[in-house]
Amino acid sequence: MNAAMINKTSFFILRVTIIIFICQSIVYAATPVIDIEIRNHLFIPSEIVIPENTKVKLVIHNHDETDEEFESYELNREKVIIGQRKGIIFIGPLPAGEYPFFGEFFPKTAQGKVIVK
């Protein structure tokens, strides 16, 4: 193997590594994070807009002392968010439309929806 060939191979490996890195960062960039707060049994904001056909990471910060259960039949999601803690829920990809969610423990006030555009 001559020097030129080694040079060529190492250049190829470098290129592949760079491409892998770029692809990975695209994958990570494709999961947007949206923060939602729970205060006094209300979701703030109560409406969030997310892009169509995209997976989204919801981070729900519960500022109340009481636990709440994030629940949505339309999103097929259910998770207890402990009081004064946060919880992570992945949603989507979803077709365009409106997906209501609610707090199962305090459904009278804790209402919201995800709007997929």
């Binding site: 056909n53 997976k55 990471k57 002392e65 009481t66 636990d67 709440e68 259960e69 039949y73 339309e74 097929n76 999601r77 259910e78 998770k79 207890v80 402990i82 009081g83 803690r85 946060k86 919880g87 992570i88 829920i89 992945f90 989507g92 990809p93 979803l94 077709p95 199962e104 423990f105 305090f106 459904p107 009278k108």
Partner: protein
């Protein structure tokens, strides 16, 4: 507050009550005494308290998806225990001997896990909602009503199954358990998708217009066979696998038993 506490408790109790009633009816058919019922109830309540009280630690596991992963693990364990139970039930229906101790142990495990999962949520709900004193009575009444409805439906199921001829009740029980167990797989896969441990996909179909998961029928079908209005391909595929796996083992057993019978029926040469 009253109505929402009825609904939340009913939803949690219904699933465990249906499973419990089918298992009790079948265990009676298999000649088991009722000691396992008391054990599973006691251990289940203990499990629910332990899980409920430690949920804040559990939630932190696996980068914040500990709840999903442990719930999915419990569902999967229930599934495999149910498969073993179904095989033992089939074994019994073929007039074969079934040892009672492992049978009770498996049923205790199933109910213990079912109550732990559903009960923990009820406990968390109770402590959250009664945090402010003014709801106390309404919540307590609502929870009692919800639990009573759920248990009543379970008792109804029990009597429906018990009043059938033994062979028929075993067959129907087997089919019900098959559906419930596949539902467990579907729920577990949904939780793992929510935790991003399984890839998420667009829904395969949408039957929410036809039968909403919010409706009474939808809720009952969810508890009974894991009905989902908008499943993804992975979820539906795993559900099918969950159905096929025990059926194929039972078919295999059936084949073995039939062959054994033919061999033993054959007149031996003198």
């Amino acid at each position: 507050m009253l109505l929402s506490s009825v609904i939340i408790v009913l939803r949690e109790v219904l699933e465990a009550a249906l499973l419990f009633s089918v298992l009790i009816a079948l265990s009676k058919q298999m000649g088991l005494n009722s000691r396992w019922i008391i054990w599973s109830l006691l251990l289940g309540v203990l499990g629910a308290f332990t899980y409920g009280m430690n949920i804040n630690n559990v939630s932190e596991w696996f980068d914040g998806v500990g709840q999903e992963v442990s719930n999915a693990l419990m569902q999967l364990t229930i599934y495999f225990m149910l498969v073993v139970f179904m095989l033992m039930l089939y074994h019994f229906s073929c007039k074969q001997k079934v040892s009672k101790f492992p049978l009770s142990l498996i049923m205790i495990m199933i109910i213990l896990l079912a109550i732990t999962r559903e009960g923990a949520e009820i406990i968390l709900y109770f402590f959250s909602v009664t945090h402010s004193q003014n709801y106390y009575m309404a919540v307590l009444v609502g929870m009692t009503i919800g639990a009573s409805i759920g248990i009543s439906i379970g008792i109804l199921f029990y009597y429906l199954l018990s009043n059938l001829k033994p062979e028929r009740s075993i067959f129907i029980g087997l089919v019900l358990l098959l559906l419930v167990s596949a539902g467990m797989i579907s729920q577990a896969s949904l939780l793992l998708i929510q935790a991003d441990w399984l890839p998420s996909q667009l829904p395969l179909w949408d039957t929410s217009e036809l039968l909403s998961e919010k409706s009474v029928t939808g809720q009952l079908l969810y508890a009974l066979l894991g009905y989902e209005a908008t499943p993804t391909a992975i979820q539906a595929g795993l559900y099918l696998l969950g159905l096929i796996f025990p059926i194929s083992i039972i078919m295999g057993l059936k084949f073995t038993y039939t062959r054994k019978k033919i061999l033993s029926d054959r007149p031996t040469k003198q």
